[in-house]
């Protein structure tokens, strides 16, 4: 499988002179690892549910062996001495890490154009961006190089590129997946997310990495269900049995999902929030969403009109809170203990300033300044504290909708399909790409994007949002939609 993966990577041009998907990879090391695993499998057939599966990892997740640069000059060549918990868990299940993928620098961006190593191209149309900030991971999956990839989310950075690249992208509930080893951007929003070719791949990926980690004080000890069982319809099984354990560990196949029918989503109430279907929404995107709603109805679901009234405030709230936390999280990049150091020979302060101004790109600089400003004396109450309060209101909107009996919310993932490289230069206009995705990050609720069709050959994604720790229902709805759309999802 590893050989095929690198073969495909070569075909598609995953390197810097092609689509620029990979930042770092070591084919011979990966092939060696694969051989070792093959030998191990001969003597001990149970090597985990991901045995031998190639996985691509976004370059802001700490890995051993391959560098972790966050697509920034300030970490050029940095190889982490420790590994993220999510990667440890993937490898414990037999996965083979084949590459670190390109991204917007420090996860700040929605197009992967903010990389210090050049933009990544969308495999569906090389003039276009793959989305961001997990553009490289989304492209790796879209191009068929790996079936699963890890990305990260702070404001939609897994779902939006998933939508642009026509793959499945999942943001778990905040605290569902350990952040240990994820280079922090905005700590109260960050989560590692999973991209997959299919809902099944994404569900498997999330099962493997989710769960309590004592190294992350914000990780949850809520039980991790076997998400793949949601394909069977119905709620999550209450208890673990030897059968379900066998499925989880890959020792037993997942029972086949029935073909979607009129009762697959019977009793499920799907909310349609009016704030996410504005008149200004791209007409083709709106049509594809309506088609999805039709499919839901044909599967027995009830569609209910709902409102998430504070959603329009999400972008201002996000662009105060995330840069504020980022300005603090990025202070450690100072040229003292690791990474780039630029020393003009004029003392310590000059070294800090030269290192950081040469090491950070323009978007990172902009956000660190913005974040420093909103935290600074005299502005903290008006900006940061205010934004935190409005964030609570946004979260309350979701809570009341789910408390009223709605099981899942469906919206477009992005306002438009992928745009061309270089098309958007105004920073705020770029931020508006996240308009439908950031609310889920602010509220901490799980959300995922599934392909729902094409517009002028470019993929369009539909977003499913459920209540905190209810990924099971989210996958259930996603499985059903995927099966009901079939090949139409990619046409």
């Amino acid at each position: 499988m590893i050989r095929a993966s690198f073969q495909r990577a070569r075909e598609i041009g995953a390197g810097a002179d092609g689509l620029n998907i990979f930042l770092h990879s070591d084919e011979s090391a990966s092939l060696e690892e694969a051989d070792a695993m093959k030998r191990h499998l001969e003597s001990a057939p149970d090597a985990g549910v991901l045995a031998g599966v190639p996985v691509a990892i976004k370059d802001n997740i700490a890995s051993l062996g391959l560098p972790t640069t966050c697509a920034s000059r300030i970490l050029a060549g940095y190889v982490s001495p420790f590994e993220a918990t999510a990667i440890t868990r993937l490898r414990a299940n037999g996965a083979l890490i084949v590459a670190k993928t390109n991204m917007d620098e420090f996860a700040m961006g929605s197009s992967t154009e903010n990389s210090a190593y050049g933009p990544t191209r969308n495999p569906h149309d090389v003039r276009c961006v793959p989305g961001g900030s997990s553009g490289g991971s989304a492209a790796a999956v879209a191009a068929g190089i790996t079936p699963i990839a890890l990305g990260s989310e702070t404001g939609g950075s897994v779902r939006q590129p998933a939508a642009f690249c026509g793959v499945v992208g999942v943001k778990p509930t905040y605290g569902r997946v350990s952040r240990y080893g994820l280079v922090a951007f905005a700590s109260s929003l960050d989560q590692i997310g999973v991209l997959g070719r299919t809902v099944e791949d994404a569900a498997l990926g999330l099962e493997t990495i989710a769960g309590f980690d004592k190294l992350d004080s914000t990780s949850s000890d809520a039980k991790v269900p076997i998400y793949r069982l949601s394909a069977l319809g119905g709620p999550a099984p209450e208890t673990r049995s030897p059968d379900t354990e066998a499925i989880r560990l890959g020792r037993s196949p997942v029972p086949l999902a029935p073909s979607p029918g009129a009762t697959t989503l019977r009793g499920v109430i799907i909310g349609k929030p009016k704030e996410y279907f504005p008149d200004s929404l791209d007409a083709s995107t709106k049509d594809l969403c309506e088609r999805a709603f039709d499919r839901f109805r044909s599967l027995g679901a009830t569609i209910r009109n709902i409102s998430l009234p504070r959603s329009p405030l999400a972008i201002p709230v996000y662009y105060i809170l995330a840069p504020a936390e980022a300005s603090s999280n990025l202070a450690r990049f100072d040229g003292v203990r690791y990474g780039l150091r630029v020393d003009p020979g004029k003392g310590l302060k000059a070294m800090y300033e030269a290192t950081r101004s040469q090491g950070f790109g323009p978007e990172v600089t902009r956000r660190v300044l913005l974040g420093t400003y909103v935290l600074s004396a005299g502005y903290y109450d008006a900006y940061y504290k205010k934004a935190q309060a409005v964030r609570t209101l946004i979260t309350d909107d979701f809570r009341s909708v789910f408390a009223s009996g709605v099981h899942a919310i469906f919206t477009p993932t992005t306002p438009t399909p992928a745009f061309q490289v270089g098309a958007i230069s105004d920073p705020y206009e770029m931020y508006l790409n996240d308009i439908f995705t950031v609310t889920a990050n602010l509220a901490g609720v799980p959300a995922m994007s599934v392909p729902i069709g094409r517009v002028r050959r470019l993929p369009v994604g539909g977003q499913i949002i459920t209540a905190h720790f209810d990924e099971f229902t989210m996958f259930r709805v996603a499985y059903a939609l995927e099966a009901a759309l079939g090949a139409e999802a990619h046409q």
Partner: protein, 104 residues
């Protein structure tokens, strides 16, 4: 609330970002434009609204006071820009401030 050039230079210093004069003007415009979009928040009534405690209202987990061998697969020297005799080495502060001075 418009950001002034003075503000930008001040916060650039707080953030140790070394912004040169030309860039300072650009950034002043950019940040002002971005912050203008945030003004809408000042009109929202948030009296009595708690700031989000995050998902889950239990307290921070506590770990026992035992040393578990930290996992470091590479030495400090492998990634440190400058080390000598086991110390990280940095250029001296131009005014030789010590933590008593710089606000420790």
């Amino acid at each position: 609330m418009a950001v002034t050039r003075q503000d930008v230079l001040h916060i650039a210093e707080l953030a140790r970002l070394g912004v040169d004069n030309a860039r300072a003007d650009e950034l002043t415009k950019e940040l002002s434009a971005i912050l203008a979009h945030m003004e809408v928040l000042s009109q929202i009534d948030t009296a009595g609204v708690p700031t989000t405690p995050g998902v889950g209202a239990e307290g921070t987990p506590l770990r026992p006071d035992v040393g578990e061998r930290p996992v470091m697969e590479r030495t400090l020297e492998s990634f440190a820009p400058a080390m000598r005799d086991g110390f990280f080495i940095v250029p001296r502060l131009a005014t030789h401030e010590d933590p008593a001075e710089s606000g420790a």
